[in-house]
Amino acid sequence: MPVPAPPTGRRGKNKRLRDRMNPRLFAWVLAIPATLFVALGLGLPVLSTFATTIGEAAGPLQPYIAFFTSGFRRTVLWRTMEVSLITTAISVVVGFATAWVVARAPGRIKSLLIIAAVFPLLTSVVVRSFAWMVILGKNGIVNTALLGLGFIGEPLSMLYTEGAVIVAMVYLFVPLMILTLVGVLEGIPRDLTDAATSLGATPAAAFRQVVLPMAVPGLIVGAVLVFTGSFTSYATPQLLGGERQMMMGTFLYQRAMVTFDWVGASTIAAVMTIVTLATVLVMSRLARKLNPVTG
């Protein structure tokens, strides 16, 4: 590592400079551009969006009352909740089982599997959703295969259904879950399960009483990522759900950019933010509580 030689004769000047600038001030000078950027670029605009929803003449909570009394908007909210919860549940199970195998795979195979999980994760969401349009479409692979085998007389319409959105979302989030959990499972020392089984625990008991409690915080972190990611997604519900399966993200876009109802759009934005923040706060508290090390 390059450590420069001390320049002679300048020591005194430098000392004076350091004395002038106190550490607190120096630290703030370095941190202030980024802090201001977040405050002005994110803080103010987002607060202004929230302000739009409570500055209404009809009453401060009017947009929210309108939101929750409208059958259509409630349907969108519940559909988004439902799709996100189902996606999360499937991703947790599939991700955990797969991560278990990956974590125990021998070195070379393991890195190959990790590459296979990272690759889709780094590829555009539009591309990954498009793939499912090709697979599930009227002339898609599934329909062609089913028609060819004579199982169905005419093509099924699978696009623009809740199922299509869920399949594509699971596809989107399983790699994230796998990678999160591989790290967690690798962190659990093999000695612990070995100790449990050598003391007489069945493999199932060792899994339930040793592995699972240690994996729970990681499972919660992964589940929160999947849930909030699904809840606030735009491209996937747009492409696979369309107008028929409107979700919060696509609904927000439609209100803002198609009908120009900015108060309505701001209300959707506020509801999305509140649900996201509440989920993160509650679940991270739960993760801390259930963590055998810190809880």
Binding site: P7, R11, A34, L44, W100, F119, L252
Partner: protein
């Protein structure tokens, strides 16, 4: 004692990986098809849809915009994020405890809410040009990666080395560039890669901020899909997968792919 993984579980994991990789292979197949509609397995092999990408000027210009935005947004974010990360690692006591949380906000606030708010306040409200608004949005989007990844590297850096340089007479700015930065090089590269890929794939922020004349590649792809459902989309998708391959190659070359599971 080493218990072997149950064969059923291994089979399940195998199916998961087929599920993960299969759709991408299907896209490559459809992109190579000679037909004017999307079909798999491909009928006839041709590269005409790849040529078609470059014949559609909207794809050419949005590719350039996306690239400039990813590089510009990431550079801006590193420029302000690295000093902040340094300050928070080096002067933890001097700065307020809540400060690191400020840099989590862009992840915590849903991307689409940030996109909508920027459109409402910055692009429409303040009348900022489209590219500037996009740049602000993308820099905000990637700032958490820059601050946290570089911050993680800085946290494991022994600042007494820097102190040694400074007490031997090296100016602070010079010690930062010659002592601190070379030691957190891996963190900066990792932050750049993560930020670049996040920015180039972004939809939720850009969808609100793109306007007449300026758009990004994913948004252009969405717009194209609404009008034409032809193999050009698959060809662009393959091109984007090429970007992923390039990024992964860079990761492997600079940091090693194991970095991605840490």
């Amino acid at each position: 004692m080493m218990s072997r993984t149950h064969p059923l579980l291994v089979a399940f994991a195998g199916l998961t990986f087929i599920f993960l990789i299969g759709p991408l292979i299907i896209i490559i197949g459809t992109a190579l098809s000679d037909t004017t509609f999307l079909t798999f397995p491909p009928q006839g092999l041709s590269l005409r849809w790849f040529e078609n990408i470059f014949e559609i000027s909207a794809f050419r210009t949005t590719m350039v915009t996306s690239f400039m935005l990813a590089v510009g947004g990431t550079a801006l974010s590193l420029l302000i994020g690295v000093p902040a990360a340094y300050a928070m690692a080096r002067y933890r006591v001097e700065l307020p405890k809540f400060l690191p949380n400020v840099f989590v906000l862009p992840i915590l606030v849903p991307e689409i809410v940030l996109g909508f708010s920027l459109m409402k306040s910055v692009a429409t409200g303040l009348g900022f040009p489209i590219f500037t608004s996009l740049l602000i949005g993308h820099a905000l989007l990637v700032l958490p990666y820059c601050v946290r990844v570089v911050g993680a590297s800085l946290n494991s850096f022994d600042f007494s080395i820097e102190e040694a340089a400074v007490s031997l007479g090296c100016p602070r700015w010079k010690s930062f560039f010659t002592v601190v930065l070379p030691n957190v090089r891996a963190g900066v590269i990792a932050a750049f890669i993560l930020a670049f890929i996040t920015s180039i794939n972004d939809v939720s922020i850009s969808i609100f901020l793109t306007g007449p004349g300026i758009s990004t590649l994913p948004i252009q792809l969405l717009a194209h899909m609404e009008q034409f459902f032809d193999p050009t989309i698959a060809a662009v998708s393959v091109l984007l997968m090429g970007v992923t391959v390039a990024v992964m190659a860079v990761v492997e070359w600079t940091l090693g792919l194991t970095f991605l599971t840490k």
